[in-house]
Symmetry: C2
Subunit: 467 residues, 2 copies
């Protein structure tokens, strides 16, 4: 028996038919050249017979007393885990391209977890064209956050293609300091950190509300400060969401993005925002729903605090414009670079202690919107969540199968029907788009448009950006 942390319990409180609070990751592997026909069946058999299921994978929710689900739940070790239920073998229909994979992962990610069992599933997916297979793992956010899940996967994999008989993620003993170590990455880690801060300060919630109000007020007087919360327009992606999801992916060589960053004088992150903003502009134009004001993104960023003389950075949060109102690609990129520069300058002026406070304040309207379930019923704090999370740099293997790409599959909430999370891996940047099925009927296109935006920008740079 183990109590849930405040944050973990929060994810359960927000859980609903329309907003299931599980996250996932999708790993794509090449089959080893000499793999027998039974390779995946053997992997599955090993996954189901690797011994004790470790925490948190062995936890299931339990409720105290006779009051049913009125009281807060706690974690209980499940002595009787039915691994045939949790570990699943699936296949893609012909022709087994990325499209069929996207459809299947969308479906799997839309199904709610079974709350009477440990809150996770792992799916081995065969039939991906060019001798590949995929591994989709899904877990409730109250159990493990998405980025920690990715890290855990990483820890299970090997840098050696000849290592075999590897343990599945749920048989690896947890590192004591895992959550702390990994809380520095992405939106999940940031939320975790901000909520930890809230938890540590009794009675801070009213302060958060009034700070949120001040931030909202500042959005009416933008001056030349950073983009403020609530300053983004209301667009189709900021209403209430329904329960079904879409998932799409893209991946690019980081080197291509770095060259563009170098040529334009911006950062890698600016280029990511440019690609997302450009794709979103085109997508919303086609849906006749492009707002006049530019969309804003909520973005976790690494900042070196003003009083830190070393090389240490700290995770913070910024709201930046995606320049979707700019028709000209060059103006759009400059607009985004200007917006992120201003946001970062603002953050970099703050000493370390103030940075933590400020991050929490900046995120508070989003957290409150998320936890109150009011998202989509009020003005959006920002229009879309975009995170860029550093992943493993070395090529990894599982039972001799080479990991080709890994994508985060995120959760969305009312008021924010789209999440874009990028994860770097061995020289490439992997974009995972998670969206609400009903809100974004052609979300696949958004992923395609990111690629076209990249090519367009490369052409533009080739002819001289400053001209």
């Amino acid at each position: 028996m183990k109590r849930l942390g405040t944050l973990d319990a929060s994810w359960l409180a927000v859980e609903s038919e329309d907003t299931p609070m599980h996250v996932g990751n999708l790993l794509i592997f090449s089959l080893p050249e000499d793999a027998p026909d039974t390779f995946l069946q053997d992997v599955l058999a090993r996954m189901k017979n690797s011994g004790t299921v470790e925490a948190p994978w062995c936890y299931r929710l339990a409720w105290p007393g006779f009051l049913g689900r009125l009281l807060a739940p706690y974690w209980k070790d499940d002595a009787n885990i039915d691994l045939d239920y949790h570990v699943r073998h699936s296949a893609l229909p012909y022709p087994g391209s990325e499209r069929e994979l996207g459809v299947l992962v969308s479906r799997l990610h839309s199904h709610p977890l079974d709350f009477s069992r440990p809150l996770w599933e792992c799916h081995i997916i065969e039939g991906l064209e060019n001798n590949r297979f995929a591994l989709y793992t899904k877990m409730h956010h109250s159990m493990i956050d998405g980025i920690s899940g990715v890290r855990l996967m990483q820890r299970v994999l090997s840098t050696s293609p000849s290592e075999i008989n590897m343990l599945p993620a749920w048989c690896v003993r947890p590192e004591k300091s895992r959550r702390r170590e990994t809380s520095g990455s992405g939106m999940s880690g940031l939320l975790s950190q901000a909520l930890d801060a809230v938890k540590e300060q009794a009675g801070v919630t009213p302060t958060l509300w009034s700070a949120a109000k001040r931030l909202a007020h500042s959005s009416l007087h933008p001056g030349d400060g950073p983009a403020a919360p609530f300053s983004g327009p209301v667009s189709m992606i900021n209403h209430r969401v329904t329960g079904q999801r879409r998932f799409a992916t893209q991946h690019y060589q980081i080197e291509r993005l770095r060259e563009l960053a170098h040529a334009s004088g911006g950062s890698l992150n600016d280029i990511v925002l440019y690609l997302c903003g450009t794709a979103l502009r085109r997508f919303l134009l086609e849906q006749n729903d492009l707002p006049d004001a530019p969309l804003t993104a909520g973005i976790p960023v690494n900042i070196r605090p003003a009083d830190d003389q070393g090389t240490g950075t700290q995770i913070s949060f910024m709201i930046a414009s995606l320049g979707t109102s700019e028709a000209d690609p060059k103006s759009r990129l400059l607009h985004i670079m200007d917006s992120t520069r201003r946001a970062k300058e603002h953050l970099q002026q703050l000493p370390k202690a103030a940075l933590t406070q400020y991050t929490m304040l900046l995120m508070s309207p989003y957290i409150l919107q998320l936890l109150s379930g009011m998202g989509g019923r009020m003005r959006p704090v920002f229009n879309v969540t975009i995170s860029n999370v550093p992943g493993p740099t070395e090529t990894l293997y599982y039972e001799g199968a080479k990991l080709e790409a890994m994508y985060p599959v995120s959760l969305i909430a009312h008021g924010g029907a789209l999440n874009i999370t990028c994860l770097s891996y061995a020289g490439s940047l992997n974009f995972g788009y998670t969206g609400c099925r009903d809100t974004l009927p052609s979300m696949q296109r958004l992923a395609v448009y990111t690629g076209e935006a990249l090519e367009e920008l490369e052409d533009l740079m080739a002819t001289g950006f400053s001209s």
Copy 2:
């Protein structure tokens, strides 16, 4: 806008995480010999582009007023059906045998339907070995019952292998009298009929309760009448159920069963009960849970009323022993034949009007247990539901693909973790076993044991039954 009937609304009232009230059917086809690689993709494309979605497939639930889901829902035409959501393409992992199909259909049948959309899904499943594919259709019982669903499928299929460009089930205009026509078959039809009878008699519910009590009392004084409700023992399959399902299938040539019926002097139905009872006995023995008293089955039967001079029959209901307490095969069969003979004699003495009343009374404890959700908290009315439903006699085709077998996928409720429904088709009898995943961890074996019971009985008959 269309009101739900009392019965249809009842299925919604009973719906819960643990007892989703959808039913399904599984059709297995051979690919046409000259089928192109894109055969299934083409079928899917046609399914999605065949024009208007007809009732009841276009209905979704809507709730009146501002009170959310407190008031009774009604049916509303969904003008914006997302057929990409409802019509799905799936595939089986290697080797694509009946085992992998069973696992996939179990999973698909375990997922709840999305209550914000029309309450059905249709899955084309490729990768079934020996050049076959499957079609699994799932629909909420409030929209259409399982047997009507099978009939509807039948009406869509053709007796000609050369007919192509066929309409999917949801584009076929409903026959006005469909429900009435088909209410004569199986457990669903019987429930429908019994509940219609309840509906037509205001204030009948108290009468039902007292009749149920009388029937319960009669079970304490069995005499030589038929097996009474509540006379079966409590076994592992009669507790509360959880939300995940298992599904298994078997099919046999009807001729084999007919020969056994002829040789033993029993009916085809007696042989079906013998096979199920024998498999259940072995299964429960292995689980160390075989009760001393024989299990009972609730069975829809066709009866010729005592005052009917013609050839007309009427559907009624009987509770018969499955002879699971008898170790000797021959004694078991004789015990079952004796039990069904007594139950039928009892029913056949009744004139037509009384038969309807009696059927309703006999079923009332089950109906009340079902609708009150009290199943599994009291003594079971009977231990297992076994129906044997006549299906199409001619070989059928869909777009040139031959229908090899069709199986009903049923629902289960608290107190009855197992449903066995048999459907005849073109000379074979198709057994569909639907069970609770947690209650019946090795349900697959039950299907295997049915086959072994058949062989054992054939051997016994070959050496002379009466000897």
